[in-house]
């Protein structure tokens, strides 16, 4: 029963695709422009190029020449990777896949004229546009903090120089000093990320600065893999980490980056080093193009990742409202394959296959103590809905935890090869 319904849906969509395609096929090669070269955007570019085999003109607009992945940047903080190992260039996408990689800022989208404006003054026309700008920050969630304060208290939630800065500040802490993290409110990029980061910083301090303390000020009352992290913290870093949700110390009311002070409704925390992760929205360009709703993120059609605001635009990754899917590199990569397939179908009449979504997030708590959480999703008319999932268990033996960590290293090599070629 399931099969026949699916096949029927398939055929109907394929016919519709074939009928709408000739207008574009008759002209020159259809132009697909992708804004943003992270886990989502670069994967769309690569999969589109791989499947279209030269029939689609693909332009990828990405300001940085070297992309540092947010995933595994905590392992750099913990001393398990060097920074160069999480940096990726776009050379292969250009040379092996024929993608026109443009290193520039996309500053505006004209949805009527179907063009993207570049900071350098250029203008790129498109037939279909894929918007994958990742996140930007909502500074009003952390009063007193802003772009100017990010060199005193780095967010390090976009990897690269911010991550290097945070590492340097952790290393410069005085013996017995205090590290404070301000964790973000939901929804945000990489739900287990702040807590893996706490683990990695604790690992560094345990060796270099064992009397130091870590305080986490959290607007949330619970977080991803909570029991796994909290059990791990007491096992590996007994007494070093204190997690303080708003119900205990109140919300953060003011951050003074010069004085290195963070005030909550009930207390003031003086920090020797701090990491402030503000609340988040879709990347600015998606907001200014009117692709987001009141939530600050962009609604999409689950089966295709098409924007609900503009039929010529598709969105992938952290800027989207992806239903039950978390904002992660794995999710963005998974959504990108659906988007690439749907974009190609819409311009060339190729088969539109049923969407398939999956996610897994590995986290490292201490050396050889890896855990993971994952789920599978399906496209429903309302949202991308979770169908089944799993999570590592408290009390798993050391061999399994080590295997999970080794598996995460294999995954990193796999996904970065999948994204960047």
């Amino acid at each position: 029963m399931k099969m026949s319904r699916r096949e029927f849906g398939f055929a109907a969509i394929a016919v519709a695709g074939a009928m709408s395609a000739p207008s574009l096929m008759a002209a020159a090669r259809p132009k697909v422009v992708i804004v943003g070269g992270g886990a989502g955007g670069a994967t769309v570019a690569r999969y589109l190029a791989q499947s279209a085999k030269g029939d689609i003109d693909i332009t990828l607009i990405e300001p940085t020449r070297m992309y540092y992945t947010c995933f595994f940047s905590n392992l750099y903080l913990g001393g398990f990777r060097d920074l160069s190992s999480i940096g990726h260039s776009y050379g292969k996408l250009a040379s092996d896949f024929g993608i026109n990689v443009v290193h520039d800022w996309a500053t505006a989208i004209d949805r009527d004229k179907k063009t993207v404006a570049l900071a350098s003054g250029g203008m790129v026309p498109y037939d279909r546009l894929v918007v994958a700008p990742g996140i930007d920050f909502k500074y009003d969630t952390v009063p007193g903090y802003g772009i100017g304060g990010a060199n005193k208290m780095p967010h390090a939630w976009k990897a690269g120089s911010q991550t290097e800065l945070l590492k340097a500040q952790i290393n410069a802490m005085p013996q017995g000093g205090r590290f404070v993290m301000v964790a973000p409110p939901n929804p945000f990029r990489c739900p287990p990320g702040p807590y893996e980061r706490v683990s990695m910083i604790a690992h560094v301090l345990k060796q270099k600065n064992p009397t130091a303390k870590i305080i986490v000020l959290d607007p949330k009352e619970k977080f991803s893999k909570q029991s796994l992290f909290q059990t791990g913290w007491s096992t590996h870093y007994d007494g070093m980490v204190e997690w303080l949700p708003a119900s205990i110390v109140g919300k953060v009311t003011h951050i003074d980056t010069e004085a290195m002070e963070i005030r909550t409704e009930t207390e003031t925390f003086k920090a020797d080093a701090a990491n402030v992760i503000p609340g988040q929205t879709a990347g600015h360009i998606a907001m200014s193009a009117g692709l987001a709703d009141n939530s600050g993120f962009c609604p999409i059609v689950s089966a295709t990742m098409q924007s609900r605001m503009d039929e010529n635009i598709y969105l992938v990754g952290d800027s989207t409202i992806a239903g039950d899917m978390p904002k992660s590199g794995f999710s963005a990569n998974s959504q990108a394959k659906v988007a690439a397939m749907a974009v190609r179908a819409s311009v060339s009449g190729s088969k539109l296959f049923p969407a398939r979504f999956a996610n897994t997030c590995w986290s490292l708590i201490a050396p050889n103590d890896g855990v993971k959480v994952g789920a599978k999703y399906e496209a429903t008319p309302e949202k991308i809905a979770k169908t089944e999932g799993f999570i590592s268990k408290v009390g798993e033996d050391a061999a399994l935890r080590k295997r999970t960590y080794e598996e995460s290293i294999g995954w990193y090599q796999g996904i970065t090869a999948d994204i960047f070629g």
């Binding site: 399931k2 099969m3 999969y47 499947s51 794995f330 990569n333 998974s334 394959k337 397939m341 088969k351 296959f353 398939r356 999956a358 897994t360 993971k372 994952g374 789920a375 599978k376 399906e378 169908t387 089944e388 999932g389 799993f390 798993e396 061999a399 399994l400 080590k402 295997r403 080794e406 598996e407 995460s408 290293i409 294999g410 995954w411 090599q413 796999g414 996904i415 090869a417 999948d418």
Partner: protein
């Protein structure tokens, strides 16, 4: 390290004697009377075990030969006895949590590749469930965890099931174009280049081995949670499509 189908080299070498082993097995099965389906017969299992004894010792003074000795196998993590020679795949399966019990021994004896695609155990498998149950009952007398009735996990026999993949399913011709799209879910972790670091290579596999492995994950006979999750919603045609696509990739 680049690697294709892990069993390729061993299989070529083994091809010469496989038919002999198979003939020997058929002779045994013909000679030994069938046990009842409900009550496993360890004595009959001892007779059947002679086929296994070519490579495995069991009992007092048993040593590793071609394969590991089988004393105390119940409840033991797969691939973990010092001094035995194991495939990398079975060591990984053990690290992923596989401990020998009735169900997975049954699946392994039925077809070793149900559980471990790159296993060193070059054995066609035993189709007859009663024969497998008798051999397992015999193995059980050399495990003290526990050896008394009533049985408890890990030696208890649970609901009978057939982990074998129907030959009609193995014969499905997959659509490589659909397979290429579906493969997007695999290549987030498994590299198209055939790298085998941390996560196994899946390129260049024989179709039947690939399909058998995916069905075992779908049936949760194999333990890995990510693989169970990915295989769960795949239908027989989709598994065949993936097998067809990955088979044609060069490692």
């Amino acid at each position: 390290m680049l690697r294709g189908w892990p069993g390729k080299r061993v299989m070529t070498k083994a091809a010469g004697f496989t038919p002999v082993v198979l003939m020997a097995l058929q002779v045994f099965l013909a000679d030994v009377p069938l046990a009842s389906a409900t009550q496993a017969d360890a004595e009959r299992g001892a007779e059947l075990f002679k086929t296994c004894a070519t490579c495995h010792q069991i009992g007092k003074g048993a040593r590793h030969t071609v394969g590991p000795h089988l004393n105390g196998i119940f409840g033991r993590r797969a691939g973990t006895i010092d001094g035995a020679r194991y495939s990398r795949d079975i060591v990984r399966a053990g690290q992923n949590g596989m401990h020998w019990n009735f169900d997975n021994l049954d699946a392994y004896l039925e077809n070793p590749q149900n559980l471990v695609s790159g296993t060193r155990m070059q054995f066609r498998g035993i189709k007859n469930a009663a024969d497998r149950a008798d051999i397992i009952a015999y193995l059980r007398t050399f495990s003290d965890n526990p050896r008394d009735i009533p049985e408890a996990a890990p030696t208890a026999q649970t609901t009978p099931h057939d982990p074998a993949v129907d030959p009609r399913i193995l014969a499905i011709q997959g659509d490589p174009e659909y397979g290429e799209y579906l493969a997007g879910e695999c290549t987030t972790c498994h590299q198209q280049s055939g790298s085998d670091q941390g996560i196994p290579s899946i390129v260049g596999w024989p179709t039947d081995v690939f399909v058998t492995a995916m069905h075992a994950y779908r049936a949760k006979v194999r333990e890995h949670p990510v693989m169970q999750m990915i295989a769960g919603p795949l239908n027989d045609e989709e598994i065949a499509a993936l097998a067809a696509y990955f088979k044609k990739l060069d490692p």
